[in-house]
């Protein structure tokens, strides 16, 4: 399978990473090198194999559905690039 420019652009878009048009061919080359390496996996017959879900045989613990932590607005917002009036601030979302 070979990744072309358009596919590279689509993947960049899905990943929300801006890639300039001029950089797309090199990116597609990188993808092809890595995917070529990954392609070896197709040699194996895995038809009767379960995909791994958890590497250690343990059941995920559950806890009561109650508030365990909260009321930390100041701490939560402290690292925001832009926070105003107790909210994260972002560029206008709705026209």
């Amino acid at each position: 399978m070979s990744i072309d420019r358009a596919t590279a652009a689509k993947v960049a878009k899905l990943a929300r990473i801006r890639v300039e048009d001029a950089d797309l061919p090199a990116l597609a080359d990188d993808f092809n090198a890595i995917l070529g390496f990954i392609e070896q996996l197709q040699e194996l017959d895995v038809s009767d194999v379960e995909p791994m879900v958890s590497v250690t045989p343990m059941r995920l613990p559950r806890r009561d559905d109650v508030v365990s932590d909260g009321n930390q607005q100041e701490a939560v917002l402290r690292n925001a690039p832009d926070a105003r009036e107790g909210f994260f601030a972002v560029p206008k979302v709705v026209e």
Binding site: I3, T7, A8, V11, A12, L14, A15, R16, I17, R18, V19, L27, D30, F31, A33, I34, L35, F37, I38, E39, Q40, L41, Q42, E43, L44, V46, V49, E50, P51, M52, V53, S54, V55, T56, M58, L60, P61, R63, Q72, A75, V76, R78, N79, A80, P81, D82, F88, V90, P91, K92, V93
Partner: protein, 494 residues
Amino acid sequence: MSDLTKLTIAKARDALRRGETTSVELTGACLAAIDGADALGAFVHKTPEIAMDRARAADARIKAGDAPPMCGIPVGIKDLFCTQGVASQAASRILEGFRPAYESTVSGQLRDAGAVMLGKLNMDEFAMGSSNETSVYGHAINPWRATGSSRSLTPGGSSGGSAAALAADLCLGATGTDTGGSIRQPAAFTGTVGLKPTYGRCSRWGIVAFASSLDQAGPMTKTVRDAAIMGAAMMGHDPKDSTSADLPVPDFEAMLTGDIRGRVIGIPREYRMDGMPDAIETLWAEGRAMLADAGAIIRDISLPHTKYALPAYYVIAPAEASSNLARYDGVRYGYRAKLAPGDGVTEMYEKTRAEGFGPEVRRRIMIGTYVLSAGYYDAYYNRARKVRTLIKRDFEHAFASGVDAILTPATPSAAFELGKTHSDPVEMYLNDVFTVTVNLAGLPGLAVPTGLDGAGLPLGLQLIGKPWEEGELLNIGYALEQAAGFVAKPAKWW
């Protein structure tokens, strides 16, 4: 006492308890060594005030006679660990300015045990790399140089700063994390010891996530005994990490008897790679002989799916990374790109992530995005998860047949020159060929320095243990360490 920074954790602990030195003296000596070693690029955020405060508190605690083993011991913390109020940016621009409001469980346990944080250590960006060359802070540099050469070598990665700091005696222990070999490969490149515990032994809470099903923190130290001491302080159950194992942590140090008579050591034939340097082949043979001399039984074994481990890893790890790193969007913490008039929220995401992530991280996020995208999920991601099942099964069969531990080389070469392998990402990935299987199977792995190559550079062997059997693994490592008698240190040039 002279040469305080050269002490092992065990010796420093004993000296502190006997009153022969103080944590303030030890810490002061380490801080001075760190200030004199900027050329190594190991410490990227120094925290001398915190260090001296904790050292004074540790001395008071030792005086009161109720100090745990790590009390007063100066350590470095990898930049991947969130440390309260102290920069924690995973060596990435995208976390520029981030000061966590909380402390990771592992660094918090060390702090509560009285360990002294000297500062934050360099690493590959988001732990993605094998040479510490993807760091936003610049390279960490190996204190070791080839005989007669002044060329800069990599300390390995991703825990390159941790390994460089230890090898240069800037600290007595360091935290590392290991997703595909990031503790063991740097340890092998610097003549130090690195333990990747069983998946679930150390809490992942507060450690910046790379690939959550593979990430595991562990100690990096100068000796196996130190790995036992520091490792025990880092491990333990944490309800804040749902994959954290609710199992008691044994006294690993008490298990270091060096008696390995009758233990069965497996030698996997698939780890004999084409083109492997003679020095590695010899090292491995010597390691087998040392363990046999100590009374172990050496047995050839097969781990037939070994060759598929790296390709499976390079599906699973990027897939998980693409999901974990989706949180870096310029909204809640860290870097936000400068926006042009009219830019909306999508442009903010795209520009922030393009400018905030380095090339290798961008590449892995996008590979992960691709293998998880509609139409490819089964062909790549699900298939890789099935192959992971087969790789784990290989180890289960070996252990079920009576093998107690497995001996392999830690790396396919000694430390290489910085700047050598940038052009080909796949070539860099091959560094992890002997270590990545262990992460995929969730097993504990230990790198022990056992020799030097022809150029005078350190080489290490890897021991792989059964799940939760770190104590047994460390004891076999201890026997190997005693037999190898590795005492070489890099000549100081920095």
